[in-house]
């Protein structure tokens, strides 16, 4: 016989979990007691939101399921943003939440929350466990659901009495859920149809999203693009699925996409979407998106197809399998004219900024991060202008090296996700979070966790004194009235907060740079130390991200400057 709590610990072990992020509380003490005698590594975070983002960063960086453990009530409600972030971006998580005694549920007991109701819309699936006998099966199912199909977060809500109950139940079978059978193999007829369309196309374009990364299909994508001479554009989530140093790489498309990518979308005659979902930040005005193209959509999630854009050639299946099938069927060609056109756009309209500026520009800092790390780093971002510059001025060549909250756009994601990534990858890898002075303050407290566990993450703060992306929209579309977007009031204390002192107070190395010359040495110092480090870069307060497609406009209507 085992207790429910022991079943949890055994189930996690059987699922291959090595690290758990979370915070204890009254109704999960039995699980913590069982964990005390297990080899599981528990990372005590300072906020449950931090725990979910750490588990998320761990999962995105390693491809394994991220795991967290929190208490009932406020512990559970604090996970909501992290679950929603993971849900939007298809990140596999299992989150165990404690619940009050079964007999008290619904009585407004101390620290009771309707976790099932609250998390229903932000999870792929959730369970309220009624009996310890079900627990071994439910844990196995939760990991299976989280990691197969389009991955996503699963919550297991576990009342205290179920943790304490004894059971003889074991689960050693294969998971079999009759309502959940994700398709894997793409339909052969559809694959042949798509291969024919590729062979016939004059101006094909691959458009790769987060699914290409999550589906571990970067190698197949690259092989297909090279064999059939197809340029590749990626979404923010798809960065790293195709090496950006390759001449076929058009880099990111959409609202802050490159001119080459957005022009190619508008000009192509075949658009092949690989694990992307035609998000509004990508398509701009949907009726004018890829207007000349036959649209093929490869996705493991049938509900992604025809959601925003009608697909002419839908292929439901795992992107890796489908790409392998295509690779056998496409003919090697040169497509000289199309590639010349594309390369002309690339040369004429590179991503750029004022390289002669006397002020320290944020783009320069990112380029220096690329230089100093030799491009070999895992970059984790927050949300805002710095996120876009991190996408533009660092070149991603491998999957799982750019981690960002794409779908939900969660400020506060970066630092904890970087800590989780470092925990998953080990301290040998360089993990850099690029953040803004706004975002970093949302979960700064988690820096302590990095220090405590010797996870040497490097946080680069591009301090522009503003909620920069909001300021940019106000400058461009709201009469330059900076309502609620100023973080450092003119004439106020020069550094509020003082990030260097804040870093030091958390036990990390703190550095500040205010000029170009200081950037590379400071970055080197931060990367060389085996401690976590914070590098605050005081940058020009009103630099904008370009190009920009105004919201709701067509991708060809790019703004390049306000002048």
């Amino acid at each position: 016989m085992r207790t429910g709590a022991q079943c949890v610990i055994d189930g996690l072990r059987d699922a291959g979990v090595d690290t758990l992020f979370g915070i204890p509380g009254g109704v999960v003490l039995d699980i913590f007691a069982a964990m005390y005698h297990s080899p599981l590594k528990f990372i005590l975070t300072r906020h449950e939101q931090g725990a979910t983002h750490m588990a998320d960063g761990y999962a995105r960086a390693t491809g394994r399921v991220g795991c967290c453990l929190v208490t009932s009530g406020p512990g559970a409600t604090n996970t909501v943003t992290g679950l929603a972030t993971a849900s939007m971006d298809g990140v596999p998580l299992v989150c165990i939440t404690g619940q009050v005694m079964s007999s008290m549920i619904g009585n407004d007991a101390f620290q009771e929350a309707d976790t099932m109701g609250i998390t229903r819309a932000v999870t792929k699936h959730n369970y309220l466990v009624k009996s310890a006998d079900d627990l071994p099966r439910i844990i196995a199912e939760a990991f299976y659901i989280a990691s197969t199909g389009k991955p996503g977060p699963v919550v297991i809500d576990l009342p205290k009495d179920v943790q304490r109950a004894a059971t003889a139940a074991v689960f050693d079978g294969k998971v079999n859920i009759r309502g959940y059978k994700p398709a894997v193999e793409g339909h052969p007829r559809q694959i042949v149809k798509l291969a024919r369309a590729i062979n016939r196309a004059k101006r094909p374009l691959l458009y790769a999203g987060g699914g290409a990364v999550a589906g571990d299909a970067a190698a197949e994508l690259t092989a297909l693009a090279r064999k059939a001479a197809i340029p590749v554009t990626t979404t923010l989530m798809g960065l790293g699925a195709f090496p950006e140093t390759d001449p076929l790489a058009l880099r990111m498309l959409g609202m802050h996409g490159t001119v080459a990518a957005n022009h190619a979308v508008s000009a192509c005659d075949l658009l092949i979407s690989i694990g992307a979902r035609f998000d509004d930040r990508v398509t701009g005005k949907i009726s004018e998106f890829a207007p000349r193209a036959l649209k093929a959509h490869v996705d493991i999630d049938p509900s992604a197809i025809d959601k925003n854009v009608a697909a002419d050639i839908p292929v439901v299946g795992h992107v890796k399998h489908v790409l392998r099938g295509l690779l056998d069927l496409v003919e090697p060609v040169e497509r000289r004219e199309w590639l010349a056109q594309v390369s002309d756009w690339q040369k004429t309209y590179p991503l750029t900024y004022d390289r002669n500026s006397a002020e320290l520009l944020p783009q320069y800092v990112i380029e220096q991060i690329y230089e100093v790390t030799g491009g070999d780093a895992v970059i984790v971002t927050d949300v805002g202008q710095h996120q876009m510059w991190a996408a533009h001025f660092f070149k991603y060549t491998r999957p799982r090296t750019f981690l960002s909250s794409g779908g939900l756009g969660t400020m506060g994601y970066g630092l904890p996700a970087a800590i989780g990534a470092q925990a998953g990858l080990g301290s040998g890898r360089t993990v850099v979070t690029i953040s803004g002075d706004g975002s970093i303050q949302m979960n700064f407290q988690e820096l302590v966790v990095a220090v405590e566990h010797k996870l040497p993450v490097k946080a680069v703060i591009l301090n522009n004194g503003h909620l920069g992306m909001v300021r940019q929209w106000q400058e461009m579309f709201y009469n330059r009235e900076y309502s609620g977007s100023v973080l450092s009031q003119p004439g106020g204390a020069p550094y509020l907060p003082d990030f260097v002192k804040l870093a030091e107070a958390h036990g990390a190395l703190g550095l500040r740079v205010t000029s170009r010359q200081q950037v590379a040495p400071a970055l080197r110092k931060a990367i060389e130390t085996d401690r976590p480090a914070v590098v605050e870069c005081v940058v020009k307060p009103n630099e904008n991200v370009y190009p920009m497609v105004p919201p709701g406009a067509s991708l060809t209507e790019m703004i390049h400057s306000l002048a």
Binding site: M116, G117, R120, A121, K124, H125, L128, I145, I177, R178, G179, Y180, D301, P302, S303, D306, K307
Partner: protein, 167 residues
Amino acid sequence: MKHVITALVENQPGVLARIVGLISGRGFNIESLNVAPTHDPTVSRMTMTVPGDDRVLEQVTKQLNKLVDVIKVTDLTKRRYLNRELVLVEVAAPAGKRAEIAELAELFEGKVVAVQARSLTVQMVGEQERIEDFLRLLKPFRVLALSRSGVIAVARADEAPAGSNAK
């Protein structure tokens, strides 16, 4: 257009909330809803009527299919299917009108199931359209209370798509 969607789902707590949440979260109104176990007691059948645009409802159907507890979803609207609804309706019935109401009920194969001092309660079972017809004709008599079961439906086993000439 009104869609009749039927789903086989796990007979478990929380499943109904998940399905209803998914539909209402997208701003659709479920006009009628019926749930009960099937011949397999671990499986329930839900039948819903949801008015809405075809393309959007196709998306909703796909999203429903994605739910782990949902075994199978079918939008019956484009297929051959059988549907029935049960209504209980209480109609004001002064002495002079009773015969007339009873006669109308009989025409629709309905049945007077309760007789009160000033009213009659009629039960009727039938296809949705016939129910609507019946209720329209009852209207002039002043309906005092109406309870409808919501439509239940099953696809025809011989699966010929609507409009086809298959025998």
